[in-house]
């Protein structure tokens, strides 16, 4: 054969390493933050390959002085913005309380969305109420925005007798068809092709509802993500594919999902679909991007993939301590700020909000959450008593219970009884 090998240095394997580890001082001063308002907003009918640069930039609306600027600034009235702020603050209050409940041994597990509230709430505000969401486990903000009862959420978290999912699912794995919120899976990214399928069905039926789905940047590596993007591209499905790039996947930084090489929004370019990269801590930018993508979907322009660039301000879940693998200073050093503070500052800057009202609202929301918790705990907490009849375990595996489950159920009941349980 030809291919004479040149006298080359040996190969070496590159293994990514985050910039800061425990003990390091986090310094993001070199992170380029493009100015708010600087990104162009293509027509929603523009071909996907006419705005590739949007996959590499960062759509930002809120500037340093709290003003909403540029072509992406959404036409949202102050009421809507206050509702948005409120949903974000409520989500945070809810997270705080439920995290604490887990620490108090009232349930097995919890996951906060702290610092990422804008991603789900900005999105939920931009979608129609009957659009279908296929979330991952960190979009509780959608349920809260859509008015799903806090008590029902807590009942699920406690797996108690009020749990709509009958104690079957790990805490926070909500499901509410009525709310347009698909059953959350423990298996990452499986919801992605499902969302595309739902959207394809809606399109095939000449419906007007669209679908949206979310996954973390780490989860984009799963095969399901790729299948979904391929299907979405091929059939021009009316779906919005959201990547929540909070820069961490448990202990693995985004470099292990490919962030050293390019943005996650650039995946869209690979499939020839529309791609946006958005400041995920800017609720108005998230809203605007979702609104734009929804219009594309509704007008048969096909799918949009949106990278929401944000930061996971706390641990992955109640099961980990983030200071074991990243600099303790990162959350505060992160330059894109806190989404709640930024929207609040905006409302104050435009004269539609003030510190007093904010504090009052925080107090009120804390009370609301506390009251809901009290209510929910009336239905029980995990591990303290059996909240579902034993044999409920056998229901719902199939629509009709087959003989073998009936038998197993009966045998269990008999045994429990014989044992005096």
């Amino acid at each position: 054969m030809t291919g004479q090998r040149a006298n080359l240095p040996p190969l070496s394997l590159h293994v990514p390493e985050p910039r800061f580890r425990p003990g390091d001082e986090a310094d993001f001063s070199d992170v380029e933050v493009p100015p708010a308002g600087a990104t162009r907003r293509p027509d929603t009918a523009a071909p996907a390959d006419s705005f590739h640069e949007l996959a590499y930039g960062l759509i930002r609306v809120l500037d340093e002085s709290g003003q909403a600027v540029g072509p992406w600034a959404p036409r949202l009235d102050a009421d809507a913005k206050r509702r948005m702020l409120r949903a974000m603050a409520l989500t945070r209050a809810f997270d705080e309380r439920m995290f604490r409940a887990q620490r108090q041994g009232k349930t097995s597990f919890y996951m906060k969305s702290t610092g990422e509230e804008a991603v789900s709430i900005g999105a939920a505000m931009a979608l129609a109420g009957d659009d279908m969401c296929f979330p991952s486990y960190r979009q509780q903000g959608i349920l809260i925005t859509r008015g799903y009862p806090l008590v029902a959420m807590m009942n699920q978290i406690y797996s108690n007798k009020g749990d709509p999912l009958q104690g079957r699912q790990l805490p926070i794995m909500y499901s509410s068809k009525e709310t347009g919120f698909f059953s959350i899976s423990g298996n990452l990214a499986t919801q992605y092709p499902q969302a595309v399928g739902w959207a394809m069905a809606s399109a095939a039926k000449g419906d007007s509802r669209i679908a949206a789905t979310w996954c973390g940047e780490g989860s984009t590596a799963e095969g399901d993500f790729h299948s979904a993007c391929t299907f979405a591209s091929v059939y021009r499905a009316p779906v919005i594919l959201n990547i929540v790039n909070n820069q961490w996947a448990i202990s693995s930084f985004s470099g292990f999902a490919g962030a050293e090489a390019t943005t996650f929004a650039a995946r869209a370019i690979g499939y020839g679909i529309a791609g946006l990269r958005v400041d995920g801590n800017d609720a108005l930018a998230v809203y605007a991007a979702m609104d734009w993508a929804a219009e594309r979907a509704r007008t048969n322009q096909g799918p949009t993939l949106i990278e929401h660039f944000t930061y996971r301000a706390e641990g992955h879940s109640t099961s980990d301590d983030p200071t074991a693998y990243r600099s303790a200073g990162e959350p505060n050093a992160w330059p894109l700020g806190d989404p709640i503070r930024r929207l609040k500052d905006h409302l104050i800057a435009i004269g539609e909000w003030d510190e007093e009202r904010h504090q009052a609202q925080d107090l009120e929301l804390a009370e609301t959450v506390k009251a809901a918790q009290k209510e929910a705990e009336k239905n029980g907490i995990l591990g303290h008593g059996m909240h579902q009849p034993f044999d409920s375990m056998f229901e719902g595996v199939f629509e009709e219970m087959p003989w073998h489950l009936k038998e197993q159920s009966q045998q269990m009941l008999d045994e429990q009884k014989a044992a005096g349980l």
Binding site: M132, F134, P164, L165, Q166, R168, Q169, M173, S175, S176, K177, F182, S183, S185, G186, N187, T190, Y192, P193, Q194, A195, V196, G197, W198, A199, M200, A201, S202, A204, K205, A211, G223, D224, H226, S227, A228, T230, F231, V234, G396, V397, F398, E399, P402, W403, H404
Partner: protein, 344 residues
């Protein structure tokens, strides 16, 4: 469950399967078929031939080559309210979709407390006997029968194939519908060196042209007998029936038709009558569905058993290309096992 007085026609198993989808697409606008090459071409085995021309591209369509996607998308469509019938081109290629089938389709009803369901019917040709080598011959049913929340159906005749497929499509649970490709064109007696037959001579090749159902979970007694009960399904039903006939054994042959949920009554009744039991399948032996059948029979008929339950199955090796007929559980192996059971 049949429309009365309907006309019948001679069909092979492919045609019967095609007819089931045709009938269901006609009756229910929410039924869609999809998969690799199933659209314009009508499937590599022609099972979906003509459906795109008749029902349009949004109801019968080709898909990208990603089994994850095919099943994941079908689940999403099911959640929307459609009744998708995805095809996996060969059962050997179902593994990439396993997570979507096991963690999603099979679990959706349960985990959402019936808020969402996945009424999908996954069709896939399976089994050996066509010199397909190790990746066009597998029988993976044993993986799925272990998974709670999914039904597994395997027909053995054109008549059953149509009736069972209609029942599966109408079922609100996810169903794996495995099609024994060796008998698509005709029943197979296990003698690969004899001329092949086609369904035209077989009574079950006479198939109603319209709608009818064969309920899931009901076995068929292919032959009544007193000497031994033989449990089998798919291609093996015919191999067993022929071997029994050749040997002149008074066996009761039960074609399971549905593996989950299983027709345990039919099995129990028969084994209690005969006192002996042979289980035959093409899948590899260890941990195959035959193990479950053996365990169940033993648990329920222990005091009626006069001889050990035997299993004749594929060997615990991949399906070898050139030694296909040594691997295939044919008349010699079935015959030997029968003699052993009857001797004791």
């Amino acid at each position: 469950m049949t429309d009365d007085n309907q006309t019948t026609a001679r069909m092979n198993m492919i045609q019967a399967i095609n007819s089931a989808m045709d009938v269901m697409m006609e009756r229910d606008p929410d039924v869609v078929v999809m998969g690799e090459d199933v659209g314009f071409f009508g499937g590599v085995f022609r099972a979906t031939a003509g459906l795109q021309a008749k029902y349009g591209k949004t109801r019968a369509f080709d898909t990208p080559i990603t089994e994850i996607g095919i099943i994941g998308v079908a689940i999403g469509m099911g959640a929307y309210g459609l009744r998708p019938v995805p095809e996996i081109q060969f059962a050997d290629y179902i593994y990439p979709a396993l997570d979507q089938l096991v963690s999603e389709a099979a679990r959706l009803r349960y985990r959402s407390a019936a808020d969402f369901i996945a009424p999908i019917t996954v069709r896939s040709p399976y089994g050996g006997g066509i010199f397909g080598g190790q990746t066009h011959s597998q029988s993976p049913e044993g993986i799925f029968t272990h998974v709670s929340g999914i039904k597994t159906v395997i027909p053995s005749t054109p008549y059953d194939a149509k009736g069972l497929l209609i029942a599966a499509i109408e079922d609100n649970d996810p169903t794996l519908f495995l099609e024994p490709k060796r008998i698509y064109n005709g029943p197979f007696d296990g003698h690969y060196d004899r001329p092949s037959r086609n369904w035209s001579a077989h009574p079950a090749g006479e198939v109603p042209t319209g709608y009818y159902r064969i309920p899931l979970g009901k076995a068929a007694t292919v032959r009544s007998g007193e000497a031994v009960t033989i449990l089998c399904y798919g291609t093996m039903v015919h191999v067993v029936a022929n071997t029994v006939e050749e040997m002149g054994v008074d066996a009761e042959i039960i074609d399971l038709r549905t593996l989950v949920p299983l027709d345990i009554e039919a099995i129990e009744e028969s084994v209690k009558k005969t006192g002996r039991c042979l289980i035959v399948h093409e899948a590899t032996r260890t941990g195959g569905f035959g193990a479950e059948l053996s365990a169940l029979v033993q648990e329920r008929c222990f005091y009626h058993l006069e001889a050990p339950i035997e299993r004749v199955t594929g060997f615990d090796t991949p399906y070898p290309h050139s030694l296909e007929w040594a691997y295939f559980p044919g008349p010699v192996r079935i015959g030997t096992a029968l003699k052993k059971i009857l001797k004791d």
